[in-house]
Amino acid sequence: MKKRTKEKIIELTLAGCALLTILTTCAILYVLLFEAVKFFSVVSIFDFLTDTQWTPLFADKHFGIMSLLSGTLLTSLIAILVALPTGLIIALYLNEYSSRRFKNIIKPILEILASVPTVVYGFFALTVVTPFLQQIFPNISGFNSLSAGFVMGIMIIPYVSSLSDDAISAVPRYIREGSLALGANRFQTAFRVIIPSASSGIIVSAILAISRAIGETMIVAIAAGQQPRLTFDPTVPIETITTYIVKVSLGDVSQNSIEYQTIFAAGITLFVFTFLLNNISYWLNKKLEKKYV
């Protein structure tokens, strides 16, 4: 009997821990929705989605989230264009070409990339990558999405390479050997057989990396600029959703004002995107992973 109560207590504690994370998510969602509802009672969702300017802090107020969203999507797109090929090639090399010993050394080193503080990446982009880019393209601004996106791409390489690596090593041996037995060389096997077989895992890795890039704050706040604009030109200063939220919450905007509520409207936009991406990757993973059982 006594043992049973003890078991029960332990069980409840564990359940409590699990519940705590869910409760936190619910609380965050509640706060976001609560303030966003106030915001959307003043600004119509139609204006929010279609206006091409974002100037809530100024005289001529506009609330077009697209100007911020384009900044977020542009930097994330550049990041994934850098990270996906690089990460994938790294994963392929480690699995198909390198020796096991080399892989065991190189993989932890690669993962150090993910543990560099993002503020360091931000200054690296601003003080090293941007001046370098200006040597090649003299017309590029000091703050630009190309440099920020590129460095963010480097940051998320480990996400792509690690997860793709898992997916590639999960491809059954007989498929690889079958391909080689039919006379394909290692390169053909890697690109024509292994990648298609591991495609679900690779796509999931890419989606999770994009989701990480969309939420990234410090790199873009430091290196990409603070001027909201609806553009896909990677050479000019832009502003991402996260940069805007940081800027306004650090400033002295009074609560309950429309200026203050904009950060929740922007936050919920960000939340919707990362939520969707994470769920798509989860769903894809579930749907495709049972291929070889």
């Binding site: 300017q53 802090l57 005289a59 601004s141 000091g142 600029g225 603070q226 002295d252």
Partner: protein, 325 residues
């Protein structure tokens, strides 16, 4: 567990010991009282370098007084000032009516003291070879709210300038510099276009303008002086020949003789009436007025004349008289 408790207890004990011990340290040494305590300053990032320099010098003489200087912008600083959280507020504009009201609600009176002059500098990238001067009207066309999303190219500002997009950099809406510039150029305080890089951190603006060929920005003259090699000044023409003909570049002389208009202005500190009861604050403010002539020049501002400083000292003495009881 036990060890942790022990550490916690001993920390607590030593805290109590220290706080009991401190009154003794304040005891007069060789007849004079040694000042101690804290002077809390916040406010304008433009005045910050002067206050910081004064605080440093003051600290050399009064080692027991802790002076903290914040920089949350004139408006942000006044919010704290009106709640009684700070003793002195640095301000790059005069106090607003609603700010005075907020102070009075908390039974706080403030004294305005002028400490130096500042010139706002309009700057472009050194690689920009066509902008040498601008009229106030041209600046207005570039910065007014109506320009938002419409006036975006140099060629729209003056005929003959290239058909290339410009990028604007300026202080954020919470700073006194922003209010001052918009009032002087646009005609209405706190109103400008919104599509520019707005940052409370002047170093971000310097970084932006110095690395962007098509940039134009404005900030306090001190930040220009610190970064002269990376920026190019633009002369300002107010189209009023009574105070200097043509475009005038900001400099110590042009600000002092008031030909660099409309972009030069006085800088202030505001002293909290509740704080003058504290001898360390009094001593600090007197020290401030005594030394801001040399120190404001050192950090890139334009000092006032001796007579003007004397008038400020007189004002402060009267203020102590009324509020020290």
């Amino acid at each position: 567990m036990k060890i942790r408790l022990l550490v916690a207890y001993s920390a607590l004990a030593s805290l109590i010991f220290i706080s009991c011990g401190s009154p003794k340290d304040e005891a007069p040494k060789d007849g004079t009282t040694v000042l101690s305590g804290e002077v809390k300053i916040d406010g304008s990032s433009t005045v910050y370098p002067i206050s910081e320099a004064v605080a440093e010098e003051f600290g050399k003489v009064n080692k027991e007084v802790k002076v903290t200087v914040g920089l949350s912008g004139t408006g942000g600083g006044f919010k704290k000032f009106s709640r009684g959280e700070t003793d002195i507020n640095d301000a790059s504009r005069e106090i607003k009516e609603e700010e005075t009201k907020a102070c009075e609600e908390n039974n706080i009176h403030s004294l305005q003291l002028e400490i130096a002059y500042d010139g706002l500098s309009v700057v472009v990238n050194p690689q920009n070879d066509f902008v040498k001067d601008m009229t106030v009207a041209e600046l207005k066309k570039m910065w007014e709210p109506a320009a938002q999303n419409k006036i975006t190219r140099w060629s729209q500002i003056r005929q003959g300038w290239p058909d290339v997009e410009f990028h604007l950099y300026g202080p954020g809406t919470e700073s006194g510099t922003y209010d001052y510039f918009t009032e002087a150029v646009v005609g209405k305080s706190h109103e400008s276009r919104g599509d520019f890089t707005a940052s409370e951190d002047d170093n971000v603006l310097v970084q932006g303008v110095s690395t962007d060929k098509n940039a134009l920005g404005f900030f306090g003259f001190a930040y220009y002086e610190e970064n002269q090699d990376k920026l190019k000044l633009v002369g300002i023409d107010d189209q009023d020949d009574s105070n200097g003909t043509g475009a005038v570049l900001p400099s110590v002389e042009t600000v002092k003789n008031k030909t660099y208009t409309p972009l030069s202005r006085p800088l202030f500190i505001y002293v909290n009436s509740a704080a003058v009861k504290k001898p360390e604050v009094n001593a600090f403010v007197k020290f401030y007025l005594e030394h801001s002539k040399t120190l404001s020049g050192e950090v890139g501002y334009i000092p006032m004349t001796d007579a003007e400083y004397d008038a400020q000292k007189k004002k402060f003495d009267d203020f102590i008289e009324t509020h020290s009881k």
